[in-house]
């Protein structure tokens, strides 16, 4: 469990201060509510309403829907047709990255935002696919947990900007996993900082637990297989080029990871998965995600609105 060390109370103090930052965009809460629900329960009108919170988002969605990535025969001219082209999931992704874009000023990003989103969307997709293959009962929750698991990286970038730049530089130089470097340099990881903000935002408890424990399976609460699932999805992403923009020098045997056994306890189908094949299939996501994120972050798009 979390212990109260000097580093820890200082962390809490700095994150509390973040809460009073004026930048939590109006669209965030309704968007998170939407993300919590399965796509077939969402009504188009709710999405249109969300999109209309921000004029710039509507323009951005049209640009993305009409980009070569979606290869439409005729250009999308209305928000509705853009939503049909992109699908509700993509809209939510774009809205969320847009929200965070507003939450974190340009000069505060430590990990390049495009790299961060490639990892977050990648992990979300991988977690959902993984969940479906092993019959985990709530693949959409897996998607949400994968998407937000690294919330603490945002918190660290905002609350410890200078120190966090050192953390990243040293992690890159040593090919060391980011969480290990955080522990060494800051005394805490993005898990501990992320969960403070997650609770402030009233994210679902299962998702808060994922944020808090995905790098510490040993101490993770039992009976939340989502933690193990995201832990493994996160590792897979980082090993297949969807990490934090650098290669971590290590070899990983997923089937020997404690998370694997924990997940297998809840999802027996895991034992019969062809992991080599699954890993290969994930490479297709890497291409898709990279294209999507590049479209969101391309300079031409940023100029609109």
């Amino acid at each position: 469990m979390t212990t109260t060390t000097p580093a820890n109370s200082e962390l809490r103090r700095r994150v509390e201060k973040l809460r009073s930052l004026p930048s939590s965009p109006a669209v965030l809460q309704p968007l998170l509510d939407l993300l919590r629900r399965p796509p077939d329960e969402i009504e188009l009108s709710q999405v249109v309403q969300l999109v209309s919170y921000e004029k710039t988002i509507a323009a951005q969605l049209l640009r993305i829907a009409n980009s070569p990535l979606y290869a439409r025969a005729r250009p999308a001219e209305s928000i509705q047709s853009a939503i049909f082209t992109l699908g509700i999931q993509r809209i939510e992704d774009i809205l969320l990255s847009n929200c965070f874009g507003k939450l974190v000023p340009q000069d505060k990003w430590v990990v390049d935002p495009a790299v961060f989103w490639r990892h977050s969307f990648g992990c979300a997709l991988v977690c959902r696919e993984f969940a479906e293959r092993i019959d985990y009962y709530d693949p959409d929750k897996a998607y949400l947990a994968g998407l937000l698991h690294d919330l603490g990286i945002i918190v660290n970038s905002l609350a410890y900007n200078d120190e966090y730049r050192t953390v990243l530089a040293e992690a890159v130089q040593n090919g060391r996993p980011l969480d290990e470097q955080e522990k060494l340099t800051l005394g805490f990881t993005h898990c501990e900082s992320g969960v403070i903000l997650a609770k402030t935002w009233q994210l679902p408890d299962t998702v808060c637990e994922v944020i808090e424990w995905h790098h510490d399976m040993e101490h993770a609460p039992a009976n939340n297989p989502l933690i193990a699932l995201v832990h493994l999805g996160d590792l897979l992403c980082r090993l297949r080029g969807l990490g934090y923009g650098y290669d971590e020098w290590r070899a990983i045997d997923l089937a020997a990871d404690p998370a694997w056994h924990e997940l297998a306890r809840h999802c027996p189908k895991l034992a019969s998965i062809d992991l080599a094949r699954f890993t290969l299939d994930l490479d297709a996501y890497v291409v898709r995600i990279t294209k999507l994120v590049d479209t969101i972050f391309s300079p031409a798009l940023a100029l609109t609105g």
Partner: protein, 163 residues
Amino acid sequence: MFLLEQSEKLLKGWTFEISATDLNDRSIETAKAGIYGTYALRNTTDLYRRKYFTPADGDKLQVKDEVRARITFSRLNLSDDTKMLFMKGIDLIFCCNVLIYFDIPSKKRVVQHFFSGLQAPGYFFLGHAESLYQVSDQFRLVHLPGTTTYLKAVPGSEGTPKP
């Protein structure tokens, strides 16, 4: 070339042998000649091109003698159990896009030979889209940055392997 490049660094003090085999004599002759076109070398760095190749006919490049001399080329049928039994003490096996032509029982036999031929720890690399799923459960699938490999682990060793 990578091994030569590392022979004064990571692999200082090591000796190494490379054995390259194929079923087809013509393929072996082609491999011995070591002449490659631009497409085959699209992922080869300039450093390697300059250091380990000489220009051949057209815009092709030929691997230098000093590199080719390090490799033993021979004909081998992977289904030849007698010959396969001679493979012993190997550290690394690369067998890409070959087993796809085998049926499941033959695959299992070949992979069993590879497993016995490898030292522990020893690594077995398959082609990009290949998997040992339902072929062998003796290896451990290990993820390395950007690739996967099958590990013959030291008996009794558990946890995460060292890269």
